[in-house]
């Protein structure tokens, strides 16, 4: 094959800037060849280099006494959970591939994040996902949603890891650019943690797993551009997943790591062999000589460029010693997977690549990677004009609803609030028999067999709040995900985040990003939940503008005694219903305002992190003293929706419990019932425990108020809302199926 002439024009076509091309010439001291240009272009793409985000990300709190690796140091974060065990977890985006090829795009998103976890030696025990779709009345949205949900389900179900939790929002701003963030959680013994490092001169570099094809070439570069009409032509940049092979790769990889045969290992995701060879080398301050002739390929006449840039799935790069090479091969043979030596580790810092007896690349590893030679940019940030415009609304001029019953029903059947059952019944939520399925509520609880412990986990982000106020909205995303794990009885441990934003070269977008990171940092510091790692996805734009800024938080919480977990459903007639936290009737940015008044206006709710922390500590103490029969965080739809959910969940468990409450407030009724003030939790308790609840709330200076009691069948608030619980449940449970299954 004749290679094209390398010049600035070709570099720009590869997504590089003129400045970046000049730096490549400086680094190499010559013009790169075609393969080298490909290597630099993917490694310096936004997706791999974090060039526009890393300066901001460094402001996040990334240390904590229980963190076993620093954020970004390995493929995923690692947190000590005692008993010699650690939890590895991370969230990652697959938005761009899912926008053009929803099924494979979402499926490979799940596959990629699973590899990030088991490449560390951890067995994945749970998957989560955070999804944002456009307007459900739009047929394109339904097509994307069905494909994405099926893709996530088919991959995770076959791979054999339960998909236990997530969050879903719908808004017009995601019409052409859905958000697909996949999170995986794994468990590993401290002594069996594997590292993504290449070291030891003369050690063997092996490629294991699937063979390499032409799929996904320049996937990382594609993910670093805006979605446009032309994106459809990028379909070949989307990889194709094979969960069966991934399952075999999981078993073989863990077996090899346990047997002590692995010096270093890294999965091949974005930028395939290029990324894994250069990152592993750079981490080990070493180099590699790679011979591409030994890479198992699935297509004929592949060029070096294609092999280096292929993003074929279900592959890993492993470094082992010459003595252990055969033992390693035997394990992969047993699982009928490729395991081929493709090179050796060297003690210079170069990645040298040979193909068909010719040297096709000679690049300093360090120059390619994040934290090394990859560019770092400080982008301009400017507050967008919309921020002031949208806050200028007098809420008191809004008409009060005439019929509160209708209003509540509308909210319960809003796609942003209604049951996600249509989605999650397509996921295997129980395989591995650790999921505590009875814990219906704010977070999933996964038992750790052989211990009395469990992990609670949840993803969260209300993107409307972040749009209205990136700083407060992002603080709320962290606080709410922490509150969610607290409501099942877990102590929040640490987070991973996936920051989905528009084009960072637009200063308004970068302002959103910067403010959002500042919010996450402040909240994580105050709540004691460091950031263990994550992912940034820029260029999430439709032809007519950016998506809402969507910084998704994946929270992990720790439960030391599984007998104390609490679910959100009401349990007994005559239990006392209590609201913890004060209500101010904040209506800006609420689902009620959007749905009933058709307005996305105002400021997001504000949050006082000190009060939030005290609330969480108080609630956790109440749960730990076994004083609480149910706990549910108040979020979208406000107090009325939260109470309805506690009732509906009890209905789903054949208990048919509702409420009888009388509200006495000076606030407007709709603001009180549907406002979305933060730092509030609804609990129900046995009346005998009232005194103890009171003393804990007082000790932490938490406002609390008795609202009423749990009753059979009826759902009654003053004289303005009156239902049979069965009717609420029907609307809540059936809406999404009804909307999704319109052809």
């Amino acid at each position: 094959m004749i290679e094209p002439i390398i010049d600035l024009e070709l570099a720009i076509k590869h997504g590089l800037t003129e400045e970046e091309y000049k730096r490549i010439l400086e680094i190499l001291g010559r013009v790169p060849n075609y393969t080298e240009l490909g290597i630099f272009s993917v490694m310096w793409s936004e997706h791999c280099s974090y060039k526009n985000s890393i300066a901001e990300l460094k402001k996040l709190p990334r240390t904590g006494e229980r963190l076993l690796v620093k954020a970004g140091e390995e493929n995923a974060g690692l947190v000590d959970i005692g008993d010699g065990l650690a939890v590895a977890f991370k969230i990652e985006s697959h938005n761009h591939p899912s926008a053009v090829e929803p099924y494979q795009g979402a499926a490979t998103g799940v596959g990629g994040i699973m590899r990030d976890i088991f490449t560390m030696g951890a067995r994945p025990i749970a998957a989560l996902n955070s999804l944002r779709f456009g307007n459900l009345d739009n047929p394109r949205t339904r097509y994307l949603m069905k494909g994405i949900v099926k893709g996530i389900g088919d991959y995770g179900n076959c791979f054999g890891v339960p998909t236990v939790a997530g969050d879903v929002y719908f808004d017009d701003c995601y019409n052409e650019n859905p958000i697909v963030n996949a999170m995986s959680v794994g468990i590993v013994k401290h002594s069996e943690v594997a590292r993504a490092v290449a070291k030891g001169e003369g050690n063997i570099v092996m490629i294991v797993g699937s063979s390499t094809g032409r799929d996904g070439i320049h996937g990382a570069t594609f993910a670093s551009e805006e979605i446009s009409e032309k994106s459809e032509s990028k379909r070949p940049s989307v990889q194709v997943g094979d969960p069966f092979t991934e399952k075999l790769l999981l078993e073989a990889t863990l077996e090899a790591i346990k047997a002590g045969l692995v010096i270093g290992i890294q999965d091949m995701g974005a930028a395939g062999i290029t990324c894994s060879t250069s990152e592993m080398s750079a981490r080990g301050k070493s180099g590699m000589v790679i011979d591409l002739d030994h890479v198992p390929v699935r297509e004929i006449n592949m060029t070096a460029y294609e092999i280096m840039l292929s993003e074929s799935q279900e592959r890993m790069l492993v470094v082992t010693t010459p003595e252990n090479q055969d033992a390693l091969k035997r394990i992969f043979d047993k699982w009928e997977l490729n395991c081929r030596a493709i090179g050796t580790v060297t003690n210079d810092d170069k990645v040298k690549v040979f193909y068909q007896d010719k040297q096709v690349a000679d690049v300093p590893a360090e120059s390619l990677v994040l934290g090394g030679g990859a560019p770092v940019y400080y982008r301009e940030a400017k507050e967008p004009d919309y921020i002031h415009k949208i806050r200028n609304l007098d809420f008191n001029k809004l008409p009060e609803p005439i019929n509160y019953n209708d209003c509540l029903l509308q909210l319960l059947s809003s796609p942003n609030i209604c049951s996600r059952r249509w989605i999650y019944t397509q996921y295997d939520t129980m395989v591995r028999t650790n999921t505590m399925v009875e814990i219906v509520g704010d977070a999933a609880v996964v038992h750790l067999k052989g211990t009395n412990k469990a992990l609670a986990m949840k993803t969260d982000c209300n993107p409307r709040y972040v749009y209205l106020n990136p700083y407060e909205g992002s603080k709320i995303a962290v606080a709410e995900s922490a509150r969610n794990v607290v409501c099942v009885g877990a102590k929040p441990l640490a987070i991973t985040n996936c920051l989905n934003f528009g084009n960072p070269y637009k200063s308004e977008i970068f302002w959103q990003f910067k403010e959002s990171v500042r919010g996450i940092a402040d909240a994580c510091r105050e709540l004691g939940t460091p950031v263990t790692g994550g992912n940034v996805s820029f260029y999430n734009e439709n032809p007519d503008g950016a998506v809402y800024p969507t910084p998704v938080i994946g929270m992990i919480g720790e439960i030391n005694d599984i007998s104390k977990v609490v679910s959100a459903d009401f349990k007994n007639v005559d239990d006392v219903i209590i609201i913890l936290g004060d209500t101010f009737g904040h209506i800006g940015g609420s689902e009620y305002l959007r749905l009933y008044h058709n307005k996305v206006f105002g400021d997001s709710p504000s949050i006082n992190l000190m009060i939030e922390r005290n609330l969480q500590t108080a609630c956790l103490e109440m749960i730990n003293q076994r004083l609480v029969n149910s706990a549910h965080d108040i979020s979208d739809g406000g107090l009325a929706v939260t109470l309805a959910e506690c009732s509906i969940y009890s209905f789903d468990k054949n208990r048919q419990l509702g409420i009888q409450i009388d509200i006495d407030t000076d606030l407007r009724r709709d603001f009180y019932l549907f406002g979305e003030d933060q730092s509030r939790i609804i609990i129900s308790i046995n009346p005998e425990n009232m005194g103890l609840i009171e003393s804990i709330a007082n000790h932490y200076k938490i406002y609390f108020k008795v609202l009423g009691k749990v009753v059979k069948n009826k759902f009654q608030i003053n004289n303005c809302i009156n239902f049979e619980v069965a009717d609420l449940a029907k609307r809540y449970n059936d809406t999404l199926r009804g909307k999704a299954e319109i052809l």
């Binding site: 010699g84 067995r123 399952k247 863990l254 019944t425 996921y427 295997d428 028999t433 052989g450 211990t451």
Partner: protein
């Protein structure tokens, strides 16, 4: 010590099957008679193998082994479990490739000799593909994978798989499948009905068999059947997922307990005969 237990149960899959076999041989002589020997077959792509293993070993304290798909010995087990999952990725047709595994030759002759075989979910599909059970499992009527708790009515309690239940009992056990829509020709269905080979049907919480309670469109709401000799059972629902009290519901225990008790009865009978003869 707690850590040791944890380590084992986190990853109960033995890594070297060859090594495991020698351990089995050593254990045989000392094995207690009160424990039954269960073998859980591991196909590439099995993913409920750990779960069945855990329930039998840790909840019921039975002598439980994994059997590797490439091996051609059942190691003298009393019961073979074909677990759920996606054997060979289920790429051609569910269970269609697994039936050709070396171990399946042994399972088939074991079953033909009266050995007890239980196929759960993908295992049920493999049993149908290999001809040990009649019929086939088609794609769910709704065309999507479905994972949720369902109600099952016990149709025949006079079997070794259901003796701990009463006819008409409603069990809550989860399903998790994309292809669980049981189908067979009219004559076969009539035979199954006539011989009381249908063990479980999907039903409402009060035990009524209704179209609404059928999660996948299976004929006559069939969720589980046995062969005419009563030694091979296939079920789409996962009893192993409703057996650990830590997770909540435990109706699935009744099925495992039935099998264990039926074996113990057999063993007692055998021992009594031996005692009488001596």
């Amino acid at each position: 010590m707690r850590f040791e237990i944890c380590a084992e149960t986190l990853d109960p899959q033995p890594f070297d099957f060859a090594q495991d076999k020698s351990e089995i041989r050593n254990q045989k002589s000392t094995m207690s008679h009160t424990k039954q020997k269960f073998g859980v077959v591991v196909f590439p792509g099995s993913n409920c193998d750990h779960d069945a293993f855990y329930v039998l070993k840790n909840i019921f304290n039975q002598d439980t082994k994994f059997l590797w798909h490439k091996d051609s010995s059942l190691e003298g087990v009393d019961v073979v479990i074909l677990p759920g999952g996606f054997s060979y990725g289920d790429y051609l047709r569910c269970g269609a490739i697994a039936r050709f595994s070396p171990i399946m030759k042994e399972v088939i002759s074991f079953a033909r000799d009266g050995g007890i075989v239980i196929g759960i979910c993908n295992g049920f599909q493999i049993l149908c593909e290999s001809g040990l059970l009649p019929g086939a499992l088609l794609m769910n009527e709704g065309l999507t994978f479905v994972c949720r708790y369902v109600n099952l009515r016990v149709e025949n309690s006079n079997t070794r798989f259901t003796s701990e239940c009463n006819r008409g009992d409603v069990l809550q056990i989860p399903i998790a499948h994309g292809e669980g829509n049981y189908f067979a020709d009219k004559v076969t269905i009539e035979t199954l009905e006539r011989n009381n080979q249908i063990l479980f049907r999907y039903c409402s919480s009060d035990g009524t068999v209704t179209p609404d309670s059928n999660p996948n469109g299976s004929i006559n709401n069939i969720a589980g059947i046995m062969n005419e000799y009563g030694n091979v059972m296939g079920v789409m629902p996962h009893p192993e997922r409703a057996a650990d009290p830590v997770l909540g519901r435990t109706d699935g225990q009744k099925i495992f307990r039935s099998v264990i008790n039926s074996l113990m009865v057999n063993e007692n009978l055998k021992n009594n005969i031996l005692v009488e003869r001596s």
